[in-house]
Structure formats: C-alpha cells, structure tokens
C-alpha cells in the first residue's frame, strides 16, 4: 500500500472543472471548465495561485486544455466548436490562433511529442490532425492535414504516442482507434482497433515505453492493452504484418461508477483514475509470479485511494517533473494537488 495526501485544494473556477494540464516543467498548470475561463496556476512560496485568468477565448464550456511539450503554447478545446492556441510571445498570454472546422463540440486536444502536430476530436465523430508551421517573425500557421472518420459516434479523447507520430482516440462507440501516416503516400489512416469496452471509452493514456495503453470507460473498468510486433514470441498473429494491440488485463470491480479519466505516469509507472464516485485511485503493477509473462498477463493492485472531491472527478494527471505529484479536477469546482508515496 501507499500514502496519498492532499497538498492543496485550488478553488476559483465557477462551476464544474472539466480538465487541467501540467506545464512540462511541472511548475505551472492550466485548468478549464464550464465557466468558459482558463486559469494558469503557479507556485509561489509553496502555495498554488491562479496567476492568470484567460476569459475571452471561448463562448461556451472549455472541455480540455493541453500544453505543448516545449511549454510555449497552450491549446484549449471548447463546446463552441473551436480550438484556441495561446502563447506568451507578447509577454502576456494571448490567443494567437483559432482552429475552426469541427461541426460540433470539440472534446479533446493533444500535441505530438515533436510539437509539429496537433490533434482534435469532436462530437461530430471525427478526429482532425493539424500540422503546425512556426515562423520566426510571422504568425504560426495551422493546416488541417487529415480528417479521420473511423469512429461511428462522438469522439471523447485524443492522445499522441509518447515517442512516435501515432495517435489514439477513444469514443462513445465504445472503441479505441489508432492512426498513423502511411510511409508511402503520407496519408493519415487508421492502424488499429481496440475493441473490448462495453460502453463509452472516456480516456486513454500510454505508458512510458509506448508499448502499452490504458483505457477507462463508462462500463466501470480500466483495460491495459499491449502492442505485439509481427515477430513476437507469444504466437499473437499479426495478419497484415503490422503490430496488433491486445487487451491483456481488465481492472474490474475497483470502481463503482463510470471512470472518466486515466493517466499512466511516465516516471513511476503508476496508474491514476478519476471516477464518478468522487474518488481517485492509484494502481501499481505487481511483479508477476515466475512462469507468468508480464507482457501477456500483467497484474495491477490498488495501492491508494483519495477522497476529497465532493462530486464526480473528471481529470487526473501526474506531474511530469515531480514524481508522485498528481492533480485531479472535479464537478465540485476544485482542483486538488496530491502527493503519493510508496509505503515500502
């Protein structure tokens, strides 16, 4: 078991907080919600304070925010069908680009590791890939290079692979899909279907190696998926000569309601979940008994729970710089900063 303690509860948003994202240096975070504002929090003398409030960018709920890996840009996705890109080139945070094109609410936004690609997804069932052209003395340009229509329903979440330009999406159609660019014609297309959840797949997160993916769902389970290469030693068939993803573990029984978010810590390997039952849960992989392949049959155990939110928890995210530091955001309007420590 481990210990999960509250460092601080951040209040300021009016109404539900939908999402929050750590700056890559771990010293700041951005949050967003139904009050149509983005708040940027930084730590001064051990207290997190909302240093900046961005209120002019969107006309409806802001569903998601994401920092670029370089830390210079912040993207926000809104029910108003647009995505706004914010930067500090002028010294203050300003919205310097608005991405339009989705027919309906935008649900999620994510930057690729290299920072040259952005992905968005929407209630309109599509996933869009945008190419970013940065110019030194001119405005940045965002060009839509692919509209991916593999899902048959509302797309809830998009997430880039931690190293490769591979994209994953989760949907109301219960499935998760993977996409990459074709090496020959450069066209983006689907390259994997992860089909096992029995209700909406709300969120997804890769592990540090990028060979595994965790997903969480309205069906109250969390699933672990493993990538098997065509020459794998496990007799997993790869019919088209391309890697296949298989569900190797289902965490069921741990959550009593819908699981809205999952985050796999790249530093510690810990899994955190956000649940409709107001709880945060931390899972740790158990070293397998001899004879059991951790690749084919991994085991995870619940090592800590956190119970501070008074309503649904919508988002969990591990601090990318400070090991064991976690944020959560919920319908009760608060963002909670937690610290997890192993007991052994």
């Amino acid at each position: 078991m481990g210990k999960l303690g509250v460092l601080q509860a951040l209040t300021g948003h009016d109404g539900r907080v939908w999402s929050a994202s750590w700056h890559p240096d771990g010293a700041a975070l951005a949050s967003c919600g139904e009050d149509k504002t983005i708040r940027i929090w930084t730590r001064s003398s051990n207290e997190w304070v909302a240093q900046t409030v961005l209120a002019e960018g969107h006309s409806r709920t802001i569903r998601d925010v994401a920092w670029s890996f370089c830390g210079q840009y912040l993207a926000s996705a809104s029910f108003d069908t647009t995505v706004a890109i914010w930067d500090k080139k002028s010294g203050e945070f300003e919205c310097n680009a608005t991405l339009e094109g989705h027919d309906n609410e935008v649900k999620s936004v994510t930057w690729s590791r290299n920072g040259n690609l952005l992905a968005t997804c929407s209630r309109d069932k599509s996933v869009w890939v945008w190419e970013i052209h940065n110019y030194l003395d001119q405005e940045d340009e965002y060009e839509c290079v692919a509209v991916l229509n593999a899902h048959t329903q509302d797309v809830k979440k998009v997430c880039w692979h931690p190293h490769r330009d591979m994209l994953a999406s989760a949907s109301y159609d219960n499935s998760i899909r993977l996409y990459k660019q074709d090496a020959i014609d450069n066209e983006w297309g689907p390259c994997g279907l992860l089909d096992s959840h029995t209700s909406t797949a709300w969120s997804i997160s890769f592990d540090g190696t990028g060979k595994r993916l965790a997903s969480c769902s309205e069906d109250t389970t969390v699933k672990i998926w493993q990538e098997f290469d065509p020459d794998n030693e496990h007799d997993i068939a790869c019919p088209d000569g391309v890697p296949v993803w298989k569900c190797v573990c289902t965490l069921s029984g741990a959550h009593s309601h819908s699981v809205y978010d999952v985050d796999w810590c790249k530093k510690t390997g810990l899994l955190a979940t956000a649940c409709r039952d107001n709880m945060i849960r931390i899972f740790k992989e158990v070293r397998p008994d001899s004879g059991v392949s951790p690749l084919r049959e991994p085991t995870f155990e619940l090592v800590a729970t956190g119970y501070t939110h008074t309503q649904d928890v919508n988002k969990v995210s591990w601090n990318p710089a400070a090991a064991g530091m976690l944020l959560s955001a919920g319908d009760d309007g608060t963002i909670v900063i937690w610290q997890y420590e192993d007991d052994d």
């Binding site: 409806r60 709920t61 029910f79 109301y172 209700s199 909406t200 039952d277 008074t310």
Partner: protein, 156 residues
C-alpha cells in the same frame, strides 16, 4: 408541434397530496429524501406534446423511483407512452434538469427507461447518462426553452 405522435394517451388519476406528519414539522428530526419526495419534485413535469403531467400519463410512478440516501444515489425509471416515442430523450432530460436544480449536488441521479417499454431503450439510456452530452445540451438555448416549458408547473 406538427402532428401528435400518440393521439389518445391513457390518462390516470393524480395521487393525493403528501400527508404532513408531526415529525416533518419538527426541525430537530432528520428527514432524509424519500421516494415520495423525489416523486413530488417531478410528477408535475408537463408532457412535451399533451397538456398533461408525466404523472397523469403514467410516465412517472412513485414505485419506479429508488432513493439510497447513504450512497447518495437516486434512480428513476420512466415509461414512454408508446414504444417509438421520439420525445423519450427530451422527457428524460427534463427529469434530469428538474432534479439537478432541486437536489443537493451530492446526489448521483440516473434516469433510465423502464426496461422493455421503448424500442431504442439502450441508446436513450446511454445518452441520458453521458454527463458531457447532457452538459452540452443544457447550453443549447432552444432546447433549454423547451425543457423549461416542460418543467414549469402547469397553470392551475
């Protein structure tokens, strides 16, 4: 409204008013939410196409409401008047919105179709339980006008 889907719905009698007991008036006695109280909050919601309440159409019945105060859960089953009722989602949304406004936020409310009474039961239930889509619907001004009309108490 162009054409009525269900031209001759069955109309039922309303139930009697709740009898106020001595304990109800005593401020020192804790009275938790019960099925009757939840029923009273939603029974007078208007049907979208008839000048009748959901109680009079037997869309809502007290026996199909479950309240668990300790677990903070409330489950409401509603029965569309016909199995192909296209208003089912709207009716469910009206019930959700009414309870969202009336109840303390600690409650997890689920609104579902009474099993076996609607052709697209699963699809409607999934939509009503998706809080993100419900939140987006509540930002739709036109839809909210319709819902507010359903929720407002009928003229006496």
């Amino acid at each position: 409204m162009t054409e009525l889907e269900n031209i001759n719905p069955n109309v039922y009698k309303k139930c009697e008013d709740r009898k106020v007991t001595k304990d109800d008036e005593n401020e020192d006695v804790v009275d938790p939410f019960d099925e009757r109280e939840i029923f009273d909050l939603i029974r007078n919601i208007n049907d979208p196409e008839h000048p009748l309440t959901l109680e009079e159409l037997h869309v809502l019945e007290q026996s199909l409401i479950t309240v668990d105060n300790e677990k903070n859960t409330i489950k409401i089953l509603f029965t569309p008047t016909i199995p192909h009722c296209s208003m089912a989602t709207l009716i469910g949304l009206s019930i959700r919105v009414k309870l969202l406004r009336a109840l303390p936020p600690r409650f997890k409310v689920s609104v579902e179709i009474n099993p076996g009474t609607h052709a697209s039961e699963q699809a409607v239930n999934k939509q009503l339980s998706d809080k993100e889509r419900v939140a987006a619907a509540l930002e739709n001004t036109h839809l909210m006008e319709v819902i507010n009309q359903c929720i407002s108490s009928p003229l006496k």
